[in-house]
Symmetry: D2
Subunit: 148 residues, 4 copies
């Protein structure tokens, strides 16, 4: 899988298409930002919002799981084109370290691109920190292309 290959949709095009489906999803507080996409991968920011804090000052696990699911979804759309009906069939996440009260950065890397199944590995870090906050693998069922 050549990381450098040209994606079918750019980060900007994806933000525009996704914003139309999920209005407000890319807002600066508590929303997402698509930082970069390439064939087989994506780099996604989840902007910090005090509202996703939990007692003890940690960011909710739900926020991390949503990010772990979203980053490969963006990588699939960037690589295959607009196939919004790709659905997650399995997600397995390890929570490794308490996240800081900062933006989160997720990098998704597709480790399989089959005709029917795509599998990704996702690394999540607090912005500016090398340690992993969480690591996930996720599988997506790719809808068969429509016969025209």
């Amino acid at each position: 899988m050549t990381d450098m290959a040209t994606p079918k949709l750019s980060a900007k095009e994806l933000e525009r298409l996704l914003e139309a489906e999920f209005p407000g999803m890319f807002k600066r507080e508590g929303g997402y930002g698509i930082e970069k996409v390439w064939y087989g991968g994506s780099r996604i920011c989840k902007y910090f919002s005090p509202r996703s804090l939990r007692p003890g000052g940690t960011i909710a696990g739900t926020t991390l799981m949503a990010l772990a699911d979203f980053a490969p979804y963006v990588a699939i759309l960037a690589s295959l084109g607009w196939v919004p009906l790709a659905v997650t069939t399995n997600l397995s996440i390890n929570f490794l370290k308490k996240p800081a009260q900062r933006d989160l950065i997720a990098e998704a890397r597709m480790i399989k691109f089959g005709k029917r199944l795509a599998v990704a590995e996702v690394s999540i870090r607090s912005h500016g920190d090398d340690d992993l906050v969480a690591h996930a693998t996720a599988t997506y069922a790719i809808p068969a292309p429509e016969v025209k």
Copy 2:
């Protein structure tokens, strides 16, 4: 593990304690309801809200993941008493069927209760339907009891 053993905290006590930490979490629209707890398990309702719908009329995977994480957490609190610092270390979920536009019911069953780790299995169904919408396993690190 005797399912029928008396839990240390009742469903009502748990709703009260958790509501104090997470105000609004048990509201009737889009919130949770603790239907039943026993030693080693819980039955949780996630009330339907049109706001968690996604294009295509499905309930967001994030909603299912949050429920799969919350149900064992409640089972652990019910069984061990108020140990709010139990933290999820791993969650693995299979999405099996498109959920209906109805309340979701999750049943968590602890399959291991060690001194340091607890492991649960979770079945999620649409209210009134026998088929599984999702199935998860999750592991929690239990904090060591404080020495007094």
Copy 3:
């Protein structure tokens, strides 16, 4: 999923067909026994052999993983008929308790039977013990039926 529905292949037929592919797999020491199959499930015995012991007197994790993979495979063959090219795409296992130096019993239960993917949950116990030694979920890709 009706557990009681008639399977397409019986335990005896499956042992005969599988033995032809994997000679010796059902021998009494260290081999498997198909105790029961039904539509959507199987009950498999892994006979104890001192050779699968590890230092500390435990049964090798590899033995448990192989059993967790084999039990759903048998359940799929019993339910769908002879589709030996069903392949495992994901297996996630939790090791819960040190197994006794005895036969192991695995029960597989299909929790999804799609056209392309089948998902199973597997419970493994030491013979005669109620506690779980291990619990797994596994996903299988089902080959498309041949067009005749």
Copy 4:
């Protein structure tokens, strides 16, 4: 985690210590070879043996799972010293591509080294091929150090 840090045990020392526990495990046909260890990782070879082939000419999933479990175990021993009682608590593996009839190479990378839990990510490839054959994550419980 500095990959380049000095491990406590070298590849050679580990082969000697493990061979004493599991005689024959490093034989050239069908056995393992510890190619390299560093603080937080390992590179393990599983030598090809025609005996681990399955109908269709594929290497048994069991062989891949055993390798996915062994590589992080070696990385933990190399990094922490001789703690042979580290036990696997969870292993989740995705099978991505049919392995070639060649040696397999596994690279384990520790993504968490806590006091009680260690988590690893494992990439398995056919020797000389860039594509992943399988990818796994595994969690290990580290025994508390003995008080002297």
